[in-house]
């Protein structure tokens, strides 16, 4: 008998495979959309097939999330250290602005500087996704009990050893929860990339809105929603593997 953990991951892999098969069969989509929208003459977005759009979309999400994590986690860690403590309010403020500033406005400002396409979209998504990662990194590290840290230093760990052996592992769950929120938000927000030619699943949605073709909108929105759910599940499973108390491990 397989362990529940292995079964869980096998299940996720099976869902991902089914998802890819579903995307690559344009015929199925056409049949379904034609059934729903009988009066439309054209129900499938003609410029690119779903797999290509999904690939572009994933690239936007993954590249921007990679930047968010690579910059957000160290930034959140730094402001909880003695050397960066002074900058905590500034970092908190700036990441809040990043989240409250509409990504569309970021695009409008970024296009004159970086042109059209991938770069301005990634910048907008990066800024938008930074807040949950930074906030959760700070919260996770702050929640490490003082007596545990006292013991770590008292046993002779230096600051780096305490950070990497004790603090980060104990904060991992909270940090990963922030990453999960950030990634899922970005799957939705990455739609706006289509406005400035970065492609992705936003392309059929924009086209659908412009041409009043609801079938196009569904063709972009449904796979994006499924992608968000799938990524959420995968990240939640990674998060769970960092449980360290008995009750958490069981759940």
């Amino acid at each position: 008998m397989l362990s529940p953990k292995v079964r869980h991951w096998a299940l996720l892999a099976a869902f991902s495979a089914a998802f890819i098969v579903l995307l690559s069969n344009t015929g199925w989509w056409e049949t379904m959309l034609r059934f729903l929208f009988t009066q439309e003459t054209q129900v499938i977005y003609p410029s690119a097939n779903l797999l290509v759009l999904m690939g572009e979309h994933l690239r936007l999400v993954l590249v921007s999330s990679a930047f968010t994590i690579l910059i957000g986690v160290p930034l959140g860690t730094w402001v909880t250290r003695r050397s960066g403590q002074k900058f905590l309010p500034i970092v908190n403020g700036l990441t809040s602005i990043g989240q409250t500033f509409p990504p569309v406005a970021v695009l409008a400002l970024a296009v004159p500087l970086f042109g059209f396409g991938l770069v301005p979209t990634v910048i907008a998504l990066f800024l938008y996704g930074l807040l949950p990662v930074v906030r959760n990194t700070i919260a996770g590290l702050r929640a490490v009990p003082g007596d545990v840290l006292d013991a770590a230093y008292g046993l002779g760990m230096n600051r780096w050893q305490a950070l990497f052996r004790i603090e980060i592992p104990l904060a991992a769950r909270v940090i990963l929860a922030g990453v999960r929120i950030s990634v899922v938000i970005n799957v939705g927000t990455a739609m706006i990339g289509a406005v400035i030619g970065a492609g992705g699943l936003g392309a059929p949605i924009i086209a659908g809105l412009v041409q009043f073709n609801t079938a196009y909108v569904i063709e972009g929105a449904l796979p994006a929603a499924l992608l968000a759910v799938l990524l959420d599940q995968v990240l939640a499973s990674i998060e769970k593997s960092f449980a360290y108390s008995a009750s958490e491990r069981k759940s």
Partner: protein, 368 residues
Amino acid sequence: MIRLEHVTKKYGDVIAVNDFSLEVSRGEVCVLIGPSGCGKTTTLRMINRLIEPTSGRIFVNGDDISQIKPERLRQSIGYAIQSVGLFPHMTVAANIAVVPELLGWRKERIARRTEELLRLVGLNPKEYAGKYVSQLSGGEAQRIGVARALAADPPLLLMDEPFGAVDPLTRQRLQTQFVRIQQELKKTIILVTHDLDEAIRMADRIAIMQAGRLVQYDTPEVILSKPANKFVLDFVGTDRALKRLSRIGIGKFVKPAPSVKADASIREVMLAIGGCHSVWVLDEDDRPIGWIDAASIHKEATVGELIVRGDTDEISVVNYATLRDALSRMLGLGFKCIPVVDERKRFIGEITLGDVEAATVEVEENHA
């Protein structure tokens, strides 16, 4: 082994530790005690440089610790704290292995040492090595905290209320166990507590602190019999004589006493009791399960009718208990004598109220 010279710690205008000097010799248990806020924990934390003194010097093994890298110093000093501070994401074995790993020991050596330490603190390695902290009781966690502090076999141990976070009964058991471990290991220990009974039970010397200053530094016997001033007198309380009894083991006061097995005949009982006023009744494993009064014995009765039953744990004391334990047990039960058992609860003799009284008088005379 450890010497503090005119150590002072100020936080702004507040003086936490004030011109504190102390010397602890190798193999000695020194207990720092005083009311909360007296600076005892601050003093302890200055010895492994978790806190830096404002002025004064501290020597460990003759070396000025301000010249030693803090991490290296701490790796060479055991450290156990009240809240234990075990790492919840690691197993018990990994927790104990922290310092050996920092010191770069080989894997097999760490595994061997972990097993040895779990045994030392009385936990089965097979059962406990793979457990997580959340699966432990408070007493088990504190024992593992102590095992972790002992991991790299440091000659010096700093302990901040290491048995503070458990119920009184467990605490006393842990203290007794630790005293026995210490007799074997002969570490130099500085222990912080606010529990005078703990100090008396464990200390070779007690350092009493008040408002950052050292008020009296001496053996528990002297502190109890000759308090240096009113503060110490109030601190040790009016039951000093009683407290002194907890420095004395009952071992040398145990006397042989008549006993019979539960299945003995009435003739055997009468033979055993001789001129005594009672006889202890033991079960097949030699555990005391009650007694028979001489006055109640008559020829027609059976042992079963005459026996006054009692629970072994309640009516007896263990041979490594103190006179104070024995006395409070006797007063609690209203007995003039109680049976003494060994670790496996087997009867070895009895101790009487008269013996305790005589010991008290002796102690008084020695320190008068």
